[in-house]
Symmetry: C2
Subunit: 450 residues, 2 copies
């Protein structure tokens, strides 16, 4: 493997640019070329709902570093609006379309990093691409939604899909005074949570004014003669809508790699080993387009999250520049909030444990985020799963008021290190009345499992 | 060992009552007698500064369970205002003074749990026991301070000692509008923090209006003709004072055990093994009077904290009632806040690492509690220590705005499980803009150590 020749990076977001920067740090003179289809290099995709809510001063704040900074300060040849359309593994070049000039050219590459990200899933339904219907994918789409809100002043928003993006957009629209409805074809919001935890969230969302339609599927988006959306149709009802957000999940952008003959894995993502190498020599992949290893499931998985993309990129960058490290894997840790409620999860859910055929015990406790007598103390529910025989912690879910959510990190750390519920009980966690009851809520839950 | 006979518990606070409750749960018919010198059974000692600050409605909220509840609901014979004054290991009885009636009697015991707590260190200086001078020790002392504030309306408070109690009382007095000065004979506040971290706190305290005198020792408390305090004298100055808090540390109440011939250990506390057994047969100890095992130092240590007392009590209770479990040990994890600043630590400090003769690396990073563009994002400083050769995490210290402090739990969990700095970098911690930058601050610090 050539760890000195020209490195071509396909995709200039978190994973690609983390890798490029790491290589630059290790190899100050190596030639690095980045092709990015869009107009922006790394930006905080997760910040877009808060930008749309009006909580962030400018979309500029979401952009980590601009292309010209990479070019001038890091000597990385970043080309935006350049789409790689083919990879030739044999001859070692990529075919690139300059989207500005609509010209196609070939670029030779000694090493290749595929960091093409993911795209929102868009069902093939009538009206799905009409004006006022958005999927929050790129920074551009976030800016488009923001502009639509400012210019069209929509009154009624319908959110299709009760996942992370759906929840966060529901919050953003409530903040902006819109009437918000949410559809989900599942019987609960947030499919990564167990139903009893998801219910705490959906009850709260409804109390805060979101109208929720569960077990209902989007069938059609009705438009008026101008091509603008007017109504959302499910099998059960028709809802007036001025704005629709599609939060139906995402799929890895792995078509380019697949066409080149590179092996794909979980969820159709580019299959990588723990060193972030693909099945092809001198070809690496990282970020939302690539697979990960699940530490509890002990199998290949697909997780599209900024944290994972950054780690993928770092590991790929180290290995691309002569190092030899592995990325051990993920737990599917995730967190979000809806107004005053924080929601977090890590490891596997009951459903996943059942799918794995595991014998497990579950415990759920309702307690307080701080000492009960402390003024800002709020409710918190912690649910834990542990393997029946060994006591090993398998997963955790938390929902509660301020200070609840980040407690998931304690559980993620415990699960990653293979701790049992008893070992969680024994942990020397921090206590003072403004921060926790004397037994931290995660320990109170663990005590139910020993 | 008799695990069915009469259990006598000396001390009715967290450790003693946790044990008694656990025994009662396991052995519904066992005879359990508790002697408590004071007037209250478990109360939230750590809540007193917040009660004094006026943030807690009533001191009743600090009392976990009243003696009559233990008597009626749990059938535990709790005697308050009863001080055990001698233990006869041979004949198996304790000598008890009823402080109300001033009568002394003997109580036989088959098993004994010593949970006598700790007392504040009071230097033998002129005026140290005069009116207006307080050490925050018992719930009663908290109530006394509260009443003094209400009745005497003191204007100037001097706090002697910049430890946890000192910091929390400084906050409480500022809340109540007092002028606050603090003395500490050390060159920094919070001796359990490294100087560079302690400085962040002391700078902030001064900015918030606390006048700080470091490297100054209390020499005398001047009183007026009525016996009330008027001034605090150090070797460098004399300060007017209406109220003095002595926060000079604590010592375990181990005299009773020592006199009975039971071995004492670290800091003069009652020596226990990991099962919470003392050197004497059928005698156990738990809580602030007993030793612990330090997981990083790998030696006996002394930690007086509510979390540890509760764990001691639980483990003692399990073993007293026929179980066989161990308490693995402590990390000295602690947390507090001063106004908007959160302060937390776990594991060992640089000073302790040097005392152990360890070769270590330290990294300190200044970053943000949330995504930098998120409105409530605040500054956070994380310092980590790792062993040079192995990379093992040895300790962590955090100081920062809302959301900073409880991140210490991630580090405490990582240290307890023997993780390296690299393993912390690899952790799948939770990220969303309202909660964290994409690399959690503890990981940003860990990245400096790999």
């Amino acid at each position: 493997m050539d760890k000195k020749g020209k490195l071509v990076v396909i995709g200039g977001d978190a994973a690609g640019m983390s890798a490029a920067l790491k290589v630059r740090r290790e190899q100050p003179k190596r030639e690095i070329v980045v092709f990015e289809k869009g107009e922006h290099t790394p930006y905080a995709a997760c910040g877009m709902p808060y930008y749309i809510a009006g909580m962030v001063d400018s979309y500029d704040d979401l952009i980590a570093r601009k292309p010209e900074v990479f070019r001038k300060k890091q000597n990385i040849a970043v080309h935006i609006r350049h789409e790689v359309i083919a990879i030739d593994l044999q001859e070692k070049w990529v075919e690139v379309r300059n989207l500005e000039k609509d010209e196609v050219f070939r670029e030779s590459s000694d090493s290749l990093l595929i960091a093409t990200g993911a795209s929102p899933l868009l069902p093939d339904l009538p009206g799905i691409r009409s004006k006022g219907v958005f999927a929050l994918s790129s920074l551009q789409s976030g800016m488009d939604i923001f502009r639509f809100l400012e210019e069209e002043k929509p009154g009624k928003a319908v959110i299709v899909g009760g996942g992370y993006i759906g929840i966060e957009m529901a919050e953003a629209f409530l903040e902006r005074g819109l009437e918000v409805s949410m559809l989900d074809m599942a019987p609960q919001v947030m499919s990564t949570l167990d139903p009893d935890i998801a219910t705490v969230l959906s009850d709260y969302m409804q109390a805060e004014g979101v109208t929720l339609y569960l077990e209902e599927k989007l069938q059609e988006i009705e438009i008026n003669e101008k091509g603008s959306l007017t109504r959302v149709v499910t099998e059960k009802r028709t809802l007036d809508a001025d704005l629709v957000i599609l939060g139906l999940g995402i799929k890895p952008n792995a078509g380019l790699a697949g066409k080149a003959g590179i092996a794909l894995g979980a969820n159709g993502a580019v299959r990588v080993d723990k060193k972030m190498q693909t099945s092809a020599e001198a070809v690496w992949a990282a970020g939302d387009c690539a697979t990960s290893y699940h530490l509890v499931k002990q199998e290949e998985t697909y997780v599209a999250l900024g944290t994972v993309a950054n780690k993928h990129g770092l590991v790929a960058g180290i290995n691309l520049s002569g190092g030899d490290v592995e990325f051990p894997g993920v737990l599917g840790t995730a967190i979000t909030k809806f107004r005053e409620l924080e929601i977090a999860r890590t490891g596997i859910s009951e459903k996943e444990a059942n799918e794995m055929g595991l014998k497990f015990r579950a415990a759920k406790v309702d307690t307080y985020t701080r000492s009960a007598y402390y003024p800002e103390s709020g409710k918190i529910t912690v649910k834990l799963l542990a393997e029946k025989e060994s006591g090993w912690l398998l997963g955790g879910q938390i929902v509660g008021k301020a200070g609840a959510g980040k407690r998931i990190d304690t559980l993620a750390t415990a699960i990653a290190s293979g701790m049992t519920a008893q070992q969680v009980v024994d942990l020397d966690l921090a206590y003072a009345p403004p921060f926790s009851p004397v037994w931290d809520p995660v320990q109170t839950a663990a005590r139910r499992l020993v």
